[in-house]
């Protein structure tokens, strides 16, 4: 295989697809399957045969379209007609109307142009449009062209230069410059070098990485191979949560295909470069997403973080230089190589380029997987894309960044999505989760929920995190059962500060964020709980109520 072979496959595949006038994409991702996506897929396959249109209409199994609230979702091309909540019963009617008669069946269409208008799909460029189980589909939309370009026309330094130019920053949360990181690993003297792709999306309420892997696994793999060429690594691991069976299956299949096509292994595309890729499974530990902990876990040990320096770029897996990168970051790489860093800079903000994927969930009209340009405001995400709060309820807060993020009120909804702005208002980018809360949520209870999560997930190594969080929990238990005192609020603040300052890893350093932001923006609710023994959402003090009855 070489560049011309890839071009040939792309041409053949495109010709094959052009023979079909219509293409029906049935979303078969984790969001739509529980609502019967496979049955819908089967029904479409049967219906096009029965109605005799199988020669002009291709039915394909694809990944996530992004609109997880209207599953099973079906996208019909040309024209990107999106059908919502399709059932096997109305499939025949859709095929009869849209394909046979050529008139879209409007009553089943999803009418919500707002959901997509402010989105910008770079990472999710192929999600919902290609069949993730067919490498030909990926190649037909330009897949592996970037890899071929790197190997045939660019030096490793040139690749790193292009990535640096693009201004791409790590999407796993910390936002470190990707080009700079690659340069560090490339310059490290020790060999062999490793790459670890982080797909340990342990934050509750977040599924952006999973959906990417389910919908477009080859984009992640191509990004990894390009990175391996740039830093001269010969072995890589994708560390994935074992709770994601569909994503695991998609990646396993994609890796096998890439190996059989000589895109992985020795002499990739006929060059000297060799790179091998394996999956490693997590086992339910949130802290394993931390960059030194993930290394421990890949080595088959307890995922306990260790102090840095030495940084993984110099001493990572088995003490060798290791590049750790979130999968979303890696999926950006092929685009940057193909179109250039300058092109990429055209998206987002000058100091924060490109886009970010978020899973948008909670009490919101249009939950789903979204991708937005950096610099968009939270208000635009909640109201323009998310469609606001359902059932006439009032907005209360938005949680950005998972259990280590912040709970932000209405007053800061105009904050922009970029690493620094989010930090200023008390949240973090995290791995990309936005959960919207309405007036039925109690902010004290929410902070308590996240504290419980962090206690469960603390690895127990650092005393401030282990014991400090337990102390915080005691106070929350007091407040939620009506035993709270006014100086508890000060103690919460003080202990939070200790935990942040004295913990080794990101988990401890960010665990108090929900506490501090709820104290900063919703202090009156704490006071109400303590002084008036009142929970305006009616969540706390439940036990007392039961006792009264």
């Amino acid at each position: 295989m070489n560049l011309s072979d890839i071009q040939r496959i792309a041409e053949e595949e495109n010709e094959f697809q052009r023979a079909y006038k219509y293409r029906i994409n049935v979303c078969c991702s984790s969001g739509c399957i529980p609502f019967g996506a496979f049955k819908v897929l089967k029904a479409f396959e049967d219906a096009v045969k029965e109605l005799g249109v199988e020669n002009i209409c291709k039915v394909a199994r694809t990944g996530c379209v992004g609109t997880c609230s209207i599953g099973p979702a079906v996208l019909v091309d040309p024209g990107e007609y999106l059908y919502q909540c399709v059932t096997p019963e109305n499939v025949r009617e859709i095929v009869q109307g849209h394909i046979v008669s050529g008139v879209p069946v409007t009553k089943y269409l999803y009418n919500n142009s707002g959901y997509f208008r402010k989105q910008r799909r770079l990472v999710l460029r192929n999600a919902g449009k290609i069949d993730p189980t067919r490498v030909q589909d990926y190649i037909s939309v330009g897949g592996y062209f970037a890899l071929a370009k790197c190997l045939s026309t660019m030096t490793p330094q040139g690749v790193i230069q292009e990535i640096t130019n693009s201004g791409l920053r790590g999407r796993g949360g910390a936002g470190f410059s990707v080009g700079q990181k690659w340069g560090l690993v490339a310059r490290a003297h020790n060999t062999p070098k490793y790459i670890v792709a982080n797909l340990d999306e342990g934050d509750p309420g977040i599924f952006a990485n999973r959906t990417l892997a389910e919908a477009d696994p080859h984009a992640i793999i191509e990004g990894m191979i390009i990175a391996s060429y740039a830093i001269d690594a010969q072995k890589g691991y994708i560390y994935i949560r074992s709770e994601y069976p569909l994503a695991i299956e998609a990646l396993q299949k994609a890796i096998a295909q890439a190996k059989s096509m000589n895109l992985l292994g020795d002499n990739i595309l006929g060059t000297q470069h060799k790179f091998d890729l394996e999956l490693r499974f997590g086992a339910g530990a949130f802290v394993a997403g931390e960059e030194t902990a993930i290394l421990m876990s890949v080595e088959g040990r307890r995922a306990q973080p260790r102090p840095r320096p030495p940084y993984p770029a110099n001493q990572g897996l088995w003490g060798k230089p290791t590049l750790i990168q979130n999968v979303e970051t890696l999926a950006n790489v092929p685009l940057i190589i193909l179109n250039g860093g300058t092109w990429f800079k055209g998206f987002g903000l000058p100091n924060c380029t490109g886009t970010k994927c978020f899973s948008l969930t909670g009490n919101i009209n249009n939950p789903g997987l979204i991708e937005v340009p950096m610099g968009i405001t939270l208000r635009e995400i909640v109201y323009d894309i998310g469609g606001g709060i359902p059932s006439g309820k009032k907005f209360k807060a938005v949680l950005v960044g998972g259990p280590s993020g912040g709970c932000l009120p209405e007053s800061v909804l105009d904050a922009q999505i970029d690493y620094d702005s989010l930090k200023r208002v008390g949240a973090i980018m995290g791995s990309g989760g936005i959960v919207v809360l309405n007036e039925d949520s109690c902010m004290v209870d929410t902070a308590r929920y996240f504290t419980d999560f962090c206690i469960e997930e603390s690895c127990g190594k650092c005393t401030p995190c282990r014991a400090g969080l337990a102390r915080v929990k005691d106070i929350f238990d007091k407040i939620a059962t009506g035993e709270g005192e006014l100086n508890d609020v000060d103690i919460l603040e003080k202990v939070s500060e200790y935990i942040i300052n004295a913990s080794l890893c990101g988990l401890g350093q960010t665990a108090p964020n929900p506490i501090l932001t709820t104290l900063r923006y919703f202090r009156e609710e704490y006071i109400e709980h303590i002084v008036d023994k009142k929970c305006r959402a009616g969540i706390c003090f439940k036990k007392e109520h039961k006792g009264d009855e």
Binding site: P34, S69, P204, E243, R280, A283, T361, G362
Partner: protein, 163 residues
Amino acid sequence: MTTEDIRRAQLERVLKKNNYQKSALLEILHSAQEIYGYLDQNLLVDIAGSLNLPPSHVYGVVTFYSYFKMRKPGQHIVTACLGTACYVKGVKQIIEAIEEEFNLKVGGSTADGKLSLSLTRCIGACAMAPAVVLDDQVIGKATKEIVIERIRNVLAGERDESV
């Protein structure tokens, strides 16, 4: 061959496939749990011996990760998702309803060993929160009525046809 022999042979194949690498411990434990249903102490000692690792190391790893189970689970397993979206949308009430209806506690099983209830930290099905998993089937937009009915059906031995 007894069931035990067959399982041991399966485990041996997994060990061999991973070249008895110490670093593949997590993968091996995953497979072992799939084969045996759970990881009891003797099994851990056995795996430790095969990989030439101290049993304490293997035990430490198993207890660190919440996915690994050291107790025999019930015949059917219902797992409630405790992710943020599910929490916000009231999964707690569903959990309480299951506990009450089937007389068991989170982390435990019913007296007849037919059903066990566990919690998980987010299965990533947040757009259809609250989510409950019943024997590998995800029940999205769950209510306590739906979940209890589905559990009853499964316990009664009916195949779950609703998905």
